[in-house]
């Protein structure tokens, strides 16, 4: 496995603060950041990548905290899924529900939102709820801090707006102002990469819908046409299955799925329509039970 010749020289950087981390990254552009390792280490173990150097983010206490910012929550990029589920389910129910479906307990104890974003897999479960709520990504380099709206973050399959030398430090997610849903289709209730997934946020203050579609396109998508669906706000009881089905159709139409090992494009569209209609029924019922509006 490892050669027994001359001891290999390599870098493993363990910064203790973000400014030190970005400086190290600028000085050692070959160093690959590692957070939970749940994406990176699979690639390393299978020799898909052999980093000459790595930059450990798990020692950065700043990245492992979340803070209440009033209308939103700023989640450090290194907060593992297990803590998002355990600590943020009330204020960010959609994201917490998605976090709960990731992998297994072992994966959720290590895997982070920062890693999910940097990997930018169209199947990543973090993306749909971030899109549905209009989150923003904070990226830091030696040149300073940028804030990237989530809608501008995904550029292609496993390609994002993150530039070389930048680290994701946090994601700021608006607090829920109404019920939220996350639905994921897979072969089992645990340990599955989504065949497709759907996140929905109902904003009762602005009477708007936010959507996020996963695993049904080259990038995570929103469904703007579906978000524009006319809902019977003044007479909630007029909501019916036909409206939910129309919403499902519009979400399915926004998807750009392909056939792959996990499912066909046709199946994905069908499943998304079902999930979206179900999600809308659920949030609508929850909203009007809860508030009596």
């Amino acid at each position: 496995m490892s050669s027994v010749a001359a001891p290999a020289r390599f870098g493993f950087h363990r910064p203790a603060a973000v400014d030190e981390a970005v400086r190290l990254l600028a000085e050692h552009p070959e160093a690959v950041p590692v957070a939970g390792g749940t994406d990176l280490m699979v690639a390393v173990n299978y020799r898909h990548t052999r980093p000459e150097a790595m930059l450990d983010l798990t020692g950065l206490a700043e990245l492992r905290e979340w803070t209440d910012e009033g209308d939103s929550v700023r989640i450090g990029s290194g907060v593992p899924y297990a803590r998002i589920t355990a600590e943020l389910a009330t204020v960010l129910p959609g994201l917490a529900a998605a976090a709960r479906t990731v992998g297994s307990p072992q994966i959720r104890n290590r895997g982070t939102l920062g890693g999910n974003l940097a990997t930018a897999s169209p199947a990543g479960d973090g993306h749909p709820p971030l899109l549905a709520t209009g989150a923003t990504v904070e990226a830091v380099s030696v040149d300073g801090t940028r804030t990237i709206p989530i809608g501008e973050f995904y550029l292609g399959p496993k390609r994002s707006a993150l530039k070389p030398g930048e680290l994701i430090t946090a994601v700021t997610v608006p607090k829920a102002t109404g019920p939220q849903q996350f639905l994921k289709v897979g072969t089992r209730n645990a340990m599955v990469i989504a065949v497709c997934s759907f996140a929905l946020a109902l904003d009762l203050d602005t009477r708007r819908l936010g959507t996020g579609i996963g695993s049904a396109g080259p990038v995570p998508l929103t469904a703007p046409d579906a978000e524009r669906l006319d809902l019977p706000w003044t007479d909630p009881a007029r909501f019916d299955d036909a409206l939910a089905a129309e919403f499902g159709r519009r979400v399915a139409a926004a998807a750009r799925p392909i056939d792959d090992v996990r499912g066909t494009a046709a199946y994905r569209r069908h499943a998304l329509a079902v999930c979206a209609a179900r999600a809308l029924r659920r949030v609508w019922t929850a909203a009007h039970e809860r508030t009596g509006r």
Binding site: M1, S2, S3, P7, A8, F10, G11, F12, R14, V34, G36, G37, T38, L40, M41, V42, V44, N45, Y46, R50, P51, E52, A53, M54, D56, T58, A82, G103, S104, P105, Q106, I107, N109, R110, N189, A190, M191
Partner: protein, 154 residues
């Protein structure tokens, strides 16, 4: 590069020669601690489960160099005797390959939740695959272990 960590209570140093060496490789191949099993190296099977600073993780997905100064507990240091005995007593072990990882996950579960329900057990063990037992006897063993631990002063 030298990494020092606490493994099953003992301060342990390992010399690694690449940044991406996994904790699982280091435990097994460098330190001779073969309790944690290697079956997939991709986080899917849980046979390498260890407690890292108290939380169950897949040792195959942790870079050893991330463990400087940290506490690692394998099946040797993480598992109370009654949990192990319950697995034996209930027939929850066949080939045994999944057992060390399962024992670590069960020890963690019972530490957090002394009397778990079946759904709680299934959720906690979702990341530990077993090809032999069909899981029912593992679930029996968790209940048996919970009862045994409840009966003895902790």
């Amino acid at each position: 590069m030298r990494v020092t960590m606490h493994v099953d209570g003992a301060e342990t140093a390992a010399e690694i020669d690449r940044p991406g060496e996994s904790l699982l490789s280091t435990l097994r191949d460098r330190l001779g601690l073969t309790g944690s099993k290697n079956a997939c190296e991709q986080g899917e099977c849980g046979s390498c489960t260890v407690l890292l600073d108290g939380a169950p993780v897949c040792a195959c997905l942790v870079a050893t160099a991330q463990c400087e100064g940290r506490e690692v507990k394998t099946v040797v240091g993480a598992v109370p005797r009654p949990v192990r005995d319950a697995f034996v007593q209930c027939g929850a072990v066949q080939c045994g390959f999944c057992t060390p990882g399962l024992l670590v996950s069960v020890a963690d579960l019972l530490d957090r939740e002394p009397d778990p329900t079946d759904p709680e057990i299934r959720e906690a063990l979702a990341g530990n695959l077993c090809r032999c037992t069909g899981y029912e006897k593992i679930i029996d063993a968790v209940h048996t272990a919970a009862a045994a631990l409840a009966g003895e002063p902790r």
